[in-house]
């Protein structure tokens, strides 16, 4: 039985280590010290979750629940807990600093597994809080810090599951590629680590109905970026819907979203039509709202979302279809390691009424531009380019796939609140909420995460700390004086923000120190843009 403290201390050491290789070394050392019986969960915890990726399980312990549990365990009132979280920049870390070393038996890896599974199974906040209190009472400070990070879904130590893959390779002398393949196929770094240690990675086979990661495309800004390489790429329309993987065998169909959540129940019409296609397969594609012979905008589809099972009326009003563009598994054979061209051939051969995206090619940037205009005219977002000889790199954003879409417009907005980012941006005030003007007031219209350099974020962070006017948990309201230029894909009506509108995919283009808040765009500007963009 291995103590959880080993895992927590290893994660702390990784967070304090510079450089990927040194981090891998520390993770590998930790892996080799975990008992065989705890290796599956231990490897998962080193990667940031108690669960296998295929389990689609999250503990979803919110900020308030964690703060209340910490209050009960430490005896500090909620206001003080909140102030401490603000001062330290992270609630879990603040709670760890408030805890004393507990008496009692050490927490084992399997104890943590049990706690996480219990928390995931509970629905009521009060029950979650009680379970969390029980766990925190047994945690050493360093354990609490990483336990809470694990529950919140982000370790933020500069290492992710692919770093752990490398550590598994190092610890158990296994082949790096074989490990990546095995993890993709079984959807579990824990199972992969165990198999690697026991020398039976090749026994792991892809199984249908276990979700796997999506291959993602890197953006390009101009057609000319690819000019010389253009003939190497196939060109498809970029659909404005929800990316999904379809697993199908016999009469069973499962749809998984990019977050690896199963969404089959939300799309009974899509699932039913796919059940008619012959054989077993795993397809990659996009669910889009459909009208007559063309796709409709994402906003139409969005009206169907957020419901576990949509009512028949809405299914009739907004029909959806699955447009397949890749085939990753076919009748017992995994195709991840075959070329796009071969996978495309297999996809086209399925038949049975399956809707398949059209693929073409462009010999020059001018031809690509023509295809782009045509895709937009068909109601799609832009283009995706796929290297014809490329393999399917599950869960990776590579250069084998490129996407080209154009931002429609930019707005000058005023920052009204900031909060800490995640991952690489942990501890930095990198997430900005921003507003447009409405008379003398400001109304929020969106929130964006990136676009500035780390240096700019750091400088701005110091400034935002100085102009903070109030704190609400992790959020700092700031004096409205910083103007940003944000680009976005389009505007939609939304109740989320006070303006009544929301920007889709907003990103910060640049700081506008040359502008004052009074120069920012107005809500009227937004209304006009909305009319313009939705009237296409």
């Amino acid at each position: 039985m291995t103590d959880y403290r080993r895992i927590a201390e290893a994660l702390e050491a990784v967070s304090q280590t510079r450089g990927k290789l040194a981090k891998i070394e520390r993770l590998a050392a930790a892996l080799s010290r975990v008992d065989d019986t705890d290796l599956v969960v231990g490897a998962r915890l080193l990667a940031g979750s108690a669960f296998a990726e295929w389990e689609e399980t999250v503990t979803s312990v919110g900020w308030a629940t964690a703060a209340r549990a910490a209050s009960a365990v430490t005896g500090w009132d909620l206001e003080t807990i909140g102030a401490c979280a603000g001062a330290i920049g992270d609630l879990g870390e603040a709670i760890a600093l408030l805890l004393e070393v507990p008496a009692g038996p050490p927490l084992s890896i399997s104890d943590v597994d049990v706690f996480c599974r219990r928390l995931a199974g509970l629905r009521k906040a009060a029950e979650k809080q009680e379970a969390l209190e029980g766990a925190l009472r047994r945690c050493w400070p360093v354990e609490a810090k990483y336990f809470l990070k694990t529950l919140s879904g982000g370790l933020r130590i500069g290492a992710d599951v692919t770093t752990v893959e490398e550590a598994v390779a190092e610890a158990f002398g296994a082949d790096r590629e074989a490990i990546a393949r095995a993890r993709r196929d079984c959807g579990d770094i824990g199972e992969t680590a165990k198999a690697a240690k026991e020398g039976r990675l090749d026994e792991i086979q892809f199984r249908l109905f276990h979700p796997i990661g999506f291959m993602l495309a890197s953006p390009i800004e101009e057609a000319s970026e690819l000019s010389g390489e253009l003939p190497l790429f196939a060109v498809e329309d970029k659909f404005d819907g929800i990316r999904a993987h379809v697993h199908k065998q016999g009469g069973r169909v499962a749809l998984f979203s990019r977050t690896l959540d199963e969404v089959t129940a939300q799309f009974p019409d899509v699932a039913a039509s796919l059940a008619a296609a012959p054989g077993a397969f795993l397809l990659d594609g996009e669910i889009v709202a459909w009208s007559g012979d063309r796709p409709e905008s994402f906003f139409r589809l969005q009206r169907r979302l957020g419901r576990k099972a949509p009512a028949p009326e809405i299914l009739a009003e907004i029909p959806a279809v699955f447009i397949a563009f890749d085939c990753l598994f076919r009748d017992g054979e995994a195709l991840f390691e075959t070329s796009w061209e071969e996978r495309r051939r297999r996809l086209e051969a399925i038949g049975g009424g399956l809707r398949v995206s059209a693929a073409s090619s462009a010999a020059s940037p001018e031809e690509l531009e023509t295809l782009f205009v045509a895709a937009r005219a068909r109601g799609n977002e832009g283009l995706v380019l796929k290297a014809r000889d490329s393999l399917y790199q599950a869960g990776k954003r590579g250069r084998a796939w490129r996407k080209w879409k154009k931002a429609t417009a930019t707005l000058d907005v005023v920052v009204t609140a900031v909060e800490q980012g995640h991952g690489k941006r942990a501890g930095m005030l990198s997430d900005y909420t921003f507003a447009v003007r409405e008379g003398e007031a400001l109304v929020n219209i969106g929130k964006a995460y990136s676009g500035l350099s780390d240096e700019e974020i750091r400088t701005m962070g110091n400034h935002f700390r100085k102009i903070t006017v109030a704190r609400y948990g992790p959020v700092r309201a700031v004096a409205p004086e910083v103007v940003l230029e944000v680009a976005f894909d389009t505007i939609q009506k939304s109740n989320r923000h006070k303006s009544g509108y929301a920007l889709r995919f907003p990103r910060i283009v640049r700081l506008r120190p040359d502008k004052r808040p009074s120069d920012a765009n107005t809500l009227q500007d937004v209304r006009e843009l909305f009319e313009q963009l939705s009237g296409r």
């Binding site: 920049g89 870390e93 501890g427």
Partner: protein, 334 residues
């Protein structure tokens, strides 16, 4: 709330005014007469007409402002200055060399202004004293319970060990420490361990005042004489973390020496490898201890987490309030 401080101090937009002495206490900008608790720049603004302070603080002030034409009056430990029926006494605050707490008193009441302080011993400071007072105006830089610092001796051992590990890995240890106080204490620790130091000019130029107080740094040399060589530790202020003096040291191990080092985020903020919570300020338990030891009937907190600290004190049965809206400063010294 301001009446809690009367008749000794009045919060004004330009600072804390002491009417009996027609002076401001640690004012953020130049004024005709200032009473200074210590020489950190955020308490000792330049250009005052006249300063009242301890001899060490005056010496630091003159060193930092060599052209300053003003007058200085020494407030010695144990002396009393009296004006208009109010007495002013100074007591060691344990923050940096020469730092003082100020006690104002008349026939009926008294007020203790802590300035910046710590209760644990330092290498270059007199131990903080605990004068009794009916009202306590305390700093609250670390006025939240997350700020609990390990024993100083333990942090000093970790500092030396981090430098030795850096040498063993072929790296230059770069110690980020404030130029007045922290830098010299770090240098003393390293001297004792036989590790030579290269000091940033801002810290180096203050050594005569430390020597006058009896602290010798035989293994220190100024950065101006050349970048750190193998086997030497570089000591620079934290504000230099992202400037060439640090970034040009290709193989480095950056050690951040500050109370703020309890935050992991400090690693990113200062591009640091090692975080060592060594502070010249009281941590949260010390702040509470001081409140209890001074035995004041009323406590006013300012700086840092003043409102939180005042609320926590209220919850513990003290009468406490935060002094807000008055003087907000940057910290030279945390």
């Amino acid at each position: 709330m301001s009446d809690w401080l009367s008749p000794f101090l009045e919060p004004r937009p330009t600072g804390l005014y002491a009417p009996a002495f027609d002076a401001f206490v640690d004012p953020p900008a130049a004024c005709p007469r200032a009473i200074l608790s210590h020489a950190h720049a955020d308490h000792a603004a330049s250009g005052h007409g006249e300063i009242w302070a301890t001899a060490e603080t005056i010496a630091f002030y003159r060193r930092r402002h060599p052209e300053w034409p003003g007058q200085a009056r020494v407030l010695a430990l144990g002396d009393r200055a009296e004006e208009r029926g109010v007495a002013l006494e100074v007591f060691p605050s344990g923050h940096i060399l020469g730092s003082a707490q100020l006690r104002f008193s008349d026939a009926s009441s008294s007020l203790l202004y802590t300035g910046d302080f710590k209760r644990r011993p330092g290498r270059t400071t007199l131990p903080a004293q605990t004068p009794r007072a009916s009202v306590l105006l305390t700093e609250a830089t670390f006025g939240l319970p997350v700020f609990r610092f390990p024993p100083r001796a333990e942090v000093e051992v970790r500092l030396t060990a981090a430098c030795r590990e850096a040498f063993a890995a072929g790296q230059t240890p770069v110690v980020l420490a404030y130029a007045l106080g922290k830098a010299q204490e770090a240098a003393l620790v390293l001297s004792e361990a036989g590790i030579p130091q290269v000091l940033h000019g801002a810290a180096w130029k203050l050594l005569p005042e430390y020597e006058a107080a009896g602290f010798r740094l035989p293994l220190a040399r100024p950065y101006e004489a050349g970048a750190a060589a193998s086997g030497e530790a570089l000591i620079v202020p934290p504000r230099c973390a992202r400037t060439p003096i640090v970034q040009n040291v290709k193989r480095r191990r950056v050690i951040y020496l500050s109370g703020w080092a309890v935050r992991s985020a400090a690693r990113a903020d200062f591009d640091a490898d090692v975080l060592l919570p060594l502070s010249d300020h009281a941590d949260f338990p010390e702040l509470l201890d001081h409140v209890v030891a001074v035995g004041a009937e009323r406590v006013v907190a300012h700086h840092g987490f003043a409102e939180d600290f005042a609320r926590i004190l209220e919850g513990r049965g003290h009468r406490a309030q935060a002094l807000t809206g008055a003087i907000e400063r940057g910290a030279e010294d945390s």
